[in-house]
Each structure stands twice: as structure tokens, then as C-alpha cells.
């Protein structure tokens, strides 16, 4: 076992750090230093910069445009992005449907979709949950009926994150009602912008942002060639994807950004003649979370290193979802505590009342209550652990 970095790795880190520093556009950099919120456009701008450098998809194999990095390099790259507070890229294309197409897609699909996912030319979103199929994903009801070379889709998806910005959506839908609910599910790719009968309705979250949408399908035609994997066997892919999602959602890198923001807030919050950062008890609270976050980060690394490149992480990734989301939420809670009376504010509070680095904390705090719910709620993760890993008996 070895955690030391080779001279090559140290040089790589230096290269990454310097490049990020030079490549971040000024306004994004200003926001990063301030801990401010990034707009969708800014995230995509950064995506395209990374793409031009060849670094947009660190985990993809080289032959489909990945940089050909090993686990250590990917780890270093992730650390450096987080250190720089760079925008986090949307995971739906690069982290979810991309790897799935790489593993299960046919050559046509790979050629058609992967390059534009990589370049950011086509933005993706996820169509998994339905109003009556949240944690119980297998009971989904979006119907896909065959008609000639197409499927005709009818039904509704909810929590389609960023659908309002997306060009494509990947959906789980029901192609058969026979057998167990897990059977009869297929995995389709639908062109959001150019398919008649698909309607996207963004709705407000408690964070005050329109991160989510509901997506309605009414006789929407999707060509059968846009099905990934065999018909009625979409559940396999759904599970693989949830594995990917769990490691993404753990949010170890992102939570570091908010931890750094918390420290900045504490250091700029006067308490008596000093600042909150001088309060040993508060420093200890920060330290505890930072230490906990390191623990989750190390577990993340172990699991990623153990999983072979390209393969989906197994059920043990559930612990990352569990522990990662809890520490992430706890960090936003601490940031709120650091703000003291300013935590009453909102992102539309005037700057006189709420300085820029504190403007988005409350929104994030509210919005992130979702991270223990989506991607398979933490209760579902515990079910997975107890059944699949621990082999505890059914009731």
C-alpha cells in the first residue's frame, strides 16, 4: 500500500494547478474566490474550456476521448478542481449516460452521442423518478409502446434536473407490464428539443432556484435505435447508473468548496474583538467536519481504486452516498451557523445586508436537503447495504 506521489504525479499536479489557474475565465474566478453561485452558462463555459484541453471526462477511456489518466491522476485532478473552486460540470452526460453508452451502447450510439456529450454541445438530463415512483423506482409507469420503428411515450417524469437547459434526456420506461416490476423496463434516449409531445415545466425548489423540472410525454415518438441495451432489460442499466450516481452524489469534492466557504465566512465574521475563526469551539466544529470529509474522501478513493476502470462501482458505493451526503449537508448547516443573524437572509437580500460570499449559502442549504433523497434516498441505500452486502433476511 502506498499513498505517496511519484515525481511524475507531483509534476502532473503542478501542471493541472497552473493550467486551471490560467484557464479559469476572470468572472468565474472571481465568483470562485468569493464562493458565489455559478450560472448554468458559466458551468458550460468551463465545460468547453476543459473539453478543448481534453480534460472534460477524466474517467472515460482514451479511445472515446478520455485523457487516459490512471486513478491517481484522476484523484489529483479532482482535488485541484475542488481546490480552485472551479464549477462542477453537469454529471448527467459525462458521469452518467456517457459511461452507460460506453458500456452498453452499440457502435452507432457511441459515434452519435459520445462526442457531443464530451464537447458539451449537447446537454443531458435524467428521466428516472415519477410522482408515484420515487424510492420505488421499479414501479415506474411511463409507457413506451412500439409503433413501427418507434416507441410512443406517454406519461410523466419528475425531478428531471436541469431539463430546461438540456438537449437530450435519458429515460427509463415501461415496455412490458409482464413479470416482476423490474422486468419490462427499457432505457431510451430522447431528443428533448426536437421531439413533438415532450413538454418541460421547470418548478421552484425550496432553494428558490429552478434546478428541477417535470417532463411530460404525450405521444412522443422515440426511434427504437435510441434504446440502449436489450428491450425489457433496462433495470440492469438503471442499477449500474445508480452506482455511478451514488459516487457522484457523495459530493466529496463539492462539499470541500462549501467547507472552504465556511472558513472564509467564519474568518470574516466579527465576534468581539476577533472573528468567529478565533473561537476555538467553532474551529473544532469546522475541524470535525473537515476530518469527517477526509474520511469519506479516502473511502471514495478506496472504492474507486478497487473498481476497475470503466466498470460501475458496486453496492459498497452506497456508503459514499450515505456518509458523503450527510457530511455535505452538515457543512452547509455549519456555514449557516457561521453566518449567525445573516443566515436569515436570502439570495435576493440586498448586498448591504448580505455580502456576496454569503448570498447563496441559505439557498444551497435548503436545496441540499435533497441530496439525501435523490439518487436513491439514504433509506434505500441502507436497504441495499443490509440486503445486498450484509445479506440480512427479508421480513
Amino acid at each position: 500500500m502506498d499513498m505517496s506521489f511519484t515525481p511524475e504525479q507531483i509534476a502532473f499536479r503542478k501542471e493541472v494547478r497552473e493550467w486551471i489557474d490560467s484557464a479559469l475565465p476572470p468572472e468565474i474566478k472571481r465568483k470562485a474566490e468569493n464562493g458565489a453561485n455559478f450560472e448554468h452558462d458559466e458551468v458550460m463555459e468551463w465545460h468547453k474550456i476543459l473539453y478543448r484541453k481534453g480534460w472534460a471526462a477524466p474517467g472515460w477511456p482514451e479511445e472515446v476521448g478520455g485523457p487516459g489518466w490512471d486513478v491517481a491522476q484522476r484523484f489529483i485532478f479532482g482535488e485541484e478542481c475542488a481546490r480552485a473552486n472551479a464549477p462542477t460540470l453537469s454529471p448527467f452526460g459525462l458521469g452518467m449516460v456517457g459511461p452507460l453508452i460506453i458500456e452498453y451502447g452499440n457502435d452507432e450510439q457511441k459515434k452519435r452521442f459520445l462526442p457531443k456529450i464530451l464537447s458539451g454541445e449537447e446537454v443531458w438530463c435524467q428521466g428516472y423518478s415519477e410522482p408515484n415512483a420515487g424510492s420505488d423506482l421499479a414501479s415506474l409507469q411511463l409507457r413506451a409502446d412500439k409503433d413501427g420503428d418507434d416507441y410512443i411515450l406517454n406519461g410523466q417524469k419528475t425531478w428531471t434536473t436541469h431539463a430546461q437547459y438540456a438537449d437530450w434526456i435519458f429515460v427509463l420506461c415501461r415496455t412490458s407490464s409482464e413479470g416482476k416490476p423490474q422486468q419490462g423496463i427499457s432505457f431510451l434516449l430522447a431528443d428533448l428539443k426536437n421531439t413533438e409531445g415532450i413538454e418541460v415545466k421547470p418548478f421552484l425548489t425550496t432553494g428558490g432556484t429552478d434546478a428541477f423540472s417535470e417532463t411530460w410525454f404525450e405521444d412522443a415518438r422515440v426511434p427504437q435505435e435510441n434504446r440502449v441495451g436489450p428491450e425489457n432489460e433496462g433495470w440492469t442499466m438503471a442499477k449500474a447508473l445508480l452506482g455511478h450516481e451514488r459516487t457522484l452524489i457523495g459530493g466529496v469534492a463539492e462539499s470541500g468548496r462549501w467547507l472552504a466557504a465556511t472558513k472564509r465566512i467564519a474568518a470574516s465574521t466579527p465576534v468581539g474583538v476577533g472573528t468567529l475563526m478565533d473561537d476555538v469551539a467553532f474551529r473544532r466544529r469546522i475541524a470535525r467536519l473537515e476530518m469527517r470529509r477526509r474520511a469519506v474522501g479516502m473511502a471514495n478513493l478506496r472504492i474507486l481504486a478497487a473498481a476497475q476502470v470503466g466498470r460501475a462501482p458496486g453496492p459498497e458505493s452506497s456508503i459514499l452516498k450515505l456518509a458523503g451526503t450527510e457530511v455535505y449537508q452538515a457543512i452547509t448547516e455549519l456555514a449557516m451557523d457561521a453566518m449567525g443573524h445573516n443566515a436569515m437572509g436570502w439570495f435576493d437580500s440586498p448586498l448591504e445586508a448580505l455580502p456576496e460570499p454569503q448570498q447563496w449559502i441559505a439557498s444551497q442549504f435548503n436545496y441540499l436537503r435533497a441530496c439525501t433523497i435523490y439518487g436513491g434516498s439514504n433509506e434505500i441505500q441502507k436497504n441495499i447495504i443490509s440486503k445486498v452486502i450484509l445479506g440480512l433476511p427479508n421480513a
Binding site: 423518478s129 408515484n132 415512483a133 420515487g134 424510492s135 420505488d136 414501479s139 419528475t158 425531478w159 418548478f203 421552484l204 425548489t205 425550496t206 432553494g207 428558490g208 428541477f212 465574521t269 466579527p270 465576534v271 468581539g272 474583538v273 468567529l276 469551539a281 467553532f282 449557516m336 451557523d337 453566518m339 449567525g340 443573524h341 445573516n342 443566515a343 436569515m344 437572509g345 436570502w346 435576493d348 437580500s349 440586498p350 448591504e352 445586508a353 448580505l354 441559505a362 442549504f365 435548503n366 436545496y367 436537503r369 435533497a370 439525501t372 433523497i373 435523490y374 434516498s377 439514504n378 433509506e379 441502507k382
Partner: protein
């Protein structure tokens, strides 16, 4: 020792509950969130008609001679409807101070119209740098010919955007952190030199950032003793904390009851999700916290009238800690058990969540109250 409600108290509870149900359900607050003022004068007047603004003041001041417990019972019910009228800032904080420390002229000029629902009040005490430290005061009141001249800034003044009169804590002597030297003044909100910036809060309620740029106040606007304003301020903020516990109890109870109902109604895996033992146990843990909140809230309300500051502080800090910690447990898991829908703005549960988080930070957070408790003399004496 007696925890039963009196007949009068039960009547108050019933009438406020009915008011919330008929006149001010959460839907009303939902609409008012979008408005500038955030609350409605005619509803304030209605509350005055019911006598709820007067209940705890002495009869000779036009009140009903009730106790802080009466205020707490009203607030608990108001919390269930997220009623946005400025009960805490106007009745508990500013009204309480005028009632206890005001001259008869001040009572008549400022308390009477408020009791009658014709005006509202606010207490401006916090400053940008002060966090929860009441003695940290930079706003100055310098002696002038007719009285004093106020210079400085106050932040997060609850109802400060709409109040007709403000009680302002300002330094008449001493340095930034000195305990003595703070005085309280009653200032008209339209006084020359006073400017207000409306601030919308996370909870959809309103406050103000207020600049005092040489505001002249007459000598008769001094509330209580010159330089001796800190003790009254502490008293008022303590009662504010007890009031936050009372209102918060309404929101906690509402969140909990709605969650239990949701567990019975929502089906996943072909059964009500409330049949899953893991969720049942979570609900049971929440129930325990709700009950503990209720117990400490009652005790704090009872002791809010206690003249012994040690007892008052001990019980109010304990209650606020329980609101902030135990209440947090309830609000956090209410969202978790509701699942995704709870993160949408359309679902009420998130509104309760936000209001509770605001109450959590008002009048001292958990660390503040724990720290205050451990500095009480009794902490070093007997532990029982």
C-alpha cells in the same frame, strides 16, 4: 405546580386555532410572501379586536393582565399557520419593553395604538458586527439641545420595514463592548435622517436594515434609564427567545403531524410508507423531540415572567437549545420522510422548515445558549 390550561387559556387557544383555519391558513402567507409589506394591517386590526395584542399587558395599560404563557399559547397557534403579522417584534419585544419600562405618556403614545391594532412596533438592536452579543453596540446617541442625535446602523430589524415606531438601542456612553452606556430610544420610523432598506428573509418574512444618519430624538423618547438599557434589552431578548420557542412549537408540531399523515397516505412498494419500520422509528424519535420541545417551551414561558434572571436565563436557554437541536431533528427528518416533494416550493413543509431555521438563529443560536448556560452561577453550584 400546575400544567393545565385555565378555561380562559383554552378559549384563547381555540379561537386562535379557528382564526388560523379560517382566516389565515398557510395559503395566505404563501401569497403575502410576494407582497412588499409581507403582512396585512387589516388582519393586524382583527387580531387586536380579538384582544390578542393586549392579552399580556397589565389592565391599567389597556391589557388583560395575562401572563407570558398566554402569549406563548397564541404564538404556538399562529406558528401553525405561519401567520406573518409581526407579533413577536411588536407585541413581545417592543411592546413588552414599553409596557415594562415606559412612562405613562409613552404607554399612551406608543403602546395604546399598537394594542388597538392601529400601529406596529419594532426593536432595532442588532448590528452588522454584533452577532448575538447585546452589549456590542456601535450606534451612538449623542446629547443634543432637545435630546439626542442618533448615528449608526441596525440590521435585521424584524418588522423594521413596516413599524411605525422603533425602539433603538444606542450608546450614550462607553466603548463598543461596554455593558453600561447603552440606552433605549423610541424613534418614529419616518424621522428625518432615518432610512430603511427592505430585506426579504429566507422565511419569506420581512425585516429592515436601518441607517440612522443624525436622527434627532426628543428627550422624552428615552425609554427607561439613561445608560442602563442593557438589562432591559437582555430581558426583552430573553422573552424573544421564549417567544421563538413558542412559535416554533407550532411549526414543529405542524411539520410532525403532517409528516405522520404523509406516512399514512403516501404509498411506495404497494404499501403506505408508514408501514416501514425504519420510518416508524424515525417518526417515534421525532415524537420524542416534539414532546421535549413542548415541555421546555412551557417551562420557558412560565419562567419568562420570573424576576430572577438566573432562573429565567437557565430555562429559556434550555428551551432554545431544545428548539434548535431537537426542533432541527424534527424539521430535518420531516423533509427526509416527505422525500423529493419536500424540496419543491409548492409543498408547505418547506415553508415551515425555513421559518424554523430563521427562528433557530434569532435571539441566540445553540452555541450561544449553551455558552450562556455554562456561565450561569448555578452551573458551578449544584447541578440539580
Amino acid at each position: 405546580m400546575n400544567f393545565d390550561l385555565s378555561e380562559e387559556q383554552q378559549m384563547i387557544v381555540d379561537s386562535v386555532a379557528k382564526f388560523v383555519e379560517n382566516d389565515s391558513p398557510v395559503e395566505r402567507f404563501r401569497e403575502l410572501r410576494q407582497s412588499e409589506q409581507g403582512w396585512e394591517p387589516q388582519m393586524w386590526a382583527k387580531m387586536a379586536e380579538y384582544g390578542w395584542l393586549a392579552v399580556a399587558y397589565p389592565e391599567e395599560q389597556g391589557g388583560f393582565g395575562g401572563s407570558f404563557v398566554d402569549l406563548a399559547l397564541i404564538l404556538e397557534q399562529l406558528g401553525r399557520g405561519l401567520v406573518p403579522e409581526p407579533y413577536i417584534p411588536s407585541v413581545v419585544l417592543a411592546g413588552g419593553l414599553i409596557s415594562k419600562f415606559g412612562s405613562s405618556e409613552q404607554l399612551e403614545r406608543y403602546l395604546t395604538p399598537m394594542i388597538e391594532g392601529r400601529s406596529s412596533l419594532a426593536l432595532a438592536y442588532a448590528e452588522k458586527q454584533s452577532r448575538y452579543n447585546l452589549n456590542d453596540c456601535l450606534t451612538r446617541a449623542d446629547k443634543s439641545t432637545g435630546g439626542w442625535t442618533l448615528k449608526g446602523q441596525k440590521v435585521w430589524v424584524l418588522n423594521g420595514h413596516a413599524a411605525d415606531h422603533l425602539i433603538v438601542a444606542a450608546r450614550t456612553s462607553g466603548e463598543q463592548f461596554d455593558s453600561s452606556g447603552i440606552s433605549l430610544f423610541i424613534v418614529d420610523s419616518d424621522a428625518p435622517g432615518l432610512s430603511r432598506i427592505l430585506v426579504k428573509g429566507m422565511d419569506g418574512q420581512r425585516s429592515a436594515l436601518i441607517n440612522f444618519d443624525g436622527v434627532e430624538v426628543d428627550a422624552d423618547r428615552l425609554l427607561g434609564e439613561e445608560n442602563e438599557g442593557l438589562a432591559p434589552l437582555e430581558w426583552a431578548i430573553d422573552r424573544g427567545a421564549a417567544a421563538a420557542c413558542a412559535e416554533g412549537q407550532g411549526e414543529i408540531s405542524e411539520m410532525f403531524e403532517r409528516t405522520v399523515q404523509y406516512l399514512k397516505d403516501r404509498r411506495q412498494f404497494k404499501v403506505p410508507i408508514g408501514s416501514f419500520q425504519a420510518l416508524q422509528h424515525r417518526a417515534a424519535e421525532m415524537f420524542a423531540e416534539v414532546e421535549l420541545c413542548k415541555s421546555t417551551m412551557i417551562l420557558a414561558a412560565i419562567q419568562a415572567d420570573n424576576e430572577d434572571a438566573g432562573t429565567r436565563k437557565a430555562e429559556i436557554s434550555s428551551a432554545k437549545l431544545q428548539l434548535n437541536d431537537g426542533g432541527w431533528f424534527v424539521q430535518k427528518y420531516a423533509l427526509q420522510l416527505f422525500g423529493g416533494i419536500a424540496i419543491t416550493d409548492e409543498e408547505d413543509i418547506g415553508l415551515f422548515f425555513k421559518r424554523l431555521r430563521v427562528l433557530n438563529g434569532l435571539f441566540g443560536d445553540a452555541d450561544y445558549h449553551v455558552d450562556r448556560f455554562q456561565s450561569l452561577e448555578r452551573f458551578n453550584g449544584e447541578s440539580i
